[in-house]
Symmetry: C2
């Protein structure tokens, strides 16, 4: 099996490592538009070769699109077009993007739509680029398959095998459900971290040297604020409506705390905290 990976960042690079060393792919071709990243990916040994977009699509059994979702929406139809042009009927393309409704809609009427499998491997760190790629990143995490009934069953089966090699649990849902889900589970977490970082940075300008930021739970809560703008701008933009809805609920909840604290209403503060503690049951 030859796998071509477009975008050799955290996700694409980490896939490359495990698909190769676990024997799923005999050959990994990489496409990377940043020359520095491309040469790093070669040096680190993430891929066997860096090739052009066209070579990558033509040589691959599976093409993995692992670029920010704004770019992915542009590339995906070009890849399906090239599949069609070459007459190849058994190639598969997948994406790994964090929003799904927009990209799925973008190829809905493409004649080769069924060779596309929409996936979202839910794993990552706050770091990016080929240097951030690591083995075992996906082990034990969930991979969402969106609208898989719109893909050829054989293609879905092959991609299930791919994610099985990465030790991921498949979850099936439609792309709209997915985007609601990720707005709650992932996108709002990033926004709360970004806003927390901005809040503290604002204060820190005035009061240098008093902060010892490694303490007090701050570092885990703000960790995601290190995340990359190239990735997050299109996610927040494409998932606008769901994200706005979650932000509004979130600001309401923060407002309830604000009011209770302003009123010295200790019973209300307690009941809000105890309700929040229920998250233990979900997180286990």
């Amino acid at each position: 099996m030859t796998v071509s990976i477009i975008g050799l960042g955290l996700i694409g690079g980490s896939m490359a490592i495990d698909l190769k060393r676990r024997g799923f792919a005999q050959k990994i071709l990489g496409v990377e538009k940043e020359p520095v990243n491309a040469s790093a990916a070669l040096k680190i040994g993430l891929v066997d070769e860096i090739v052009s977009f066209e070579e990558a699509v033509d040589a691959a059994d599976i093409v993995v699109v692992a670029v920010p979702v704004g770019a992915a929406v542009k590339l995906l139809p070009q890849i399906l077009d090239r599949f069609a042009g070459s007459g190849a009927k058994d190639k598969i393309v997948i994406d790994t993007c964090s929003t799904k409704a927009h990209i799925v809609r973008s190829v809905h009427y493409h004649p080769l739509r069924r060779r596309y499998v929409a996936t979202h491997p839910m794993a990552g760190t706050e770091y990016s680029g080929p240097w951030a790629a690591m083995p075992n990143l996906f082990d034990g995490r969930a991979c969402i398959f969106a609208n898989s009934e719109e893909s050829d069953p054989a293609a879905v089966k092959t991609i299930e095998q791919l994610y099985n090699v990465l030790n991921m649990r498949p979850i099936y849902m439609n792309s709209e459900q997915h985007d609601v889900h990720t707005a709650y589970v992932s996108h709002i977490s990033h926004l709360t971290s970004f806003a927390l970082a901005l809040t503290v940075l604002d204060k820190e300008k005035d009061e240098k040297h008093i902060f010892d930021l490694a303490s007090g739970g701050f570092s885990s809560t703000v960790r995601l604020a290190k995340s990359n703008a190239d990735m997050w701008v299109p996610i927040l933009s494409q998932n606008r409506d769901n994200v706005l809805q979650v932000i509004d609920t979130y600001i309401d909840k923060m407002g309830e705390f604000r009011q209770a604290i302003a009123d010295y209403d200790e019973d209300k503060i307690r009941s809000l905290i105890e309700e929040a503690n229920h998250i233990k049951k979900i997180l286990g």
Copy 2:
């Protein structure tokens, strides 16, 4: 040296472990009002004996008040009164509370004020109770000494030695600075986690089974939402003014994101994220 620890939870229990095994205390006496916690503390071996409040104060060279700040404010003057009553001039009492202005003010005019050293060891986990106590909890973290000029220099020196044995770096500031500091570094982090948990729990009622909450950065961001109400209600209440100010800044920052996303203003979203990324420089 005999150290009496009032409150055998995460902080008091963890102090007990390291002060004993590192040789600072020859004897550790514990006071614990919850019978279940008291017998657990004995069983785990956190303390040599469980004694009454009076016995603990009378037998100790150092009394450590490691209970939630609402209770600590009531106990501290009683301990100083008992020091005065016994005629002992070299006993020391410290507290470990997360807000300092209120407790420092509460004994400002006490005749034995100088035998009290106000400290805040900035370490912890989201767990509580004697079962949460662990060795090495404090290693490498910061300990704030608040208004230490109001304490006897010899008492401060002894307590510096105590925290030195716990491998903590001392930081000196006044109690008002401390409470601003912790509002930014710790209290708002907890509030963002509580609000995030409430937001997701709200949604989860409607849409069961679609959430895989271990993924997507959610778990690190929401970790602090497991924190205990007994501890956090008095902190948020006592540090009301600082906390309200930070919440307001925070809601403003979240509102900027909201507006930019609502407007599809990708340049603005990008600039907010890139500004938030500066937290990397501070966290190192």
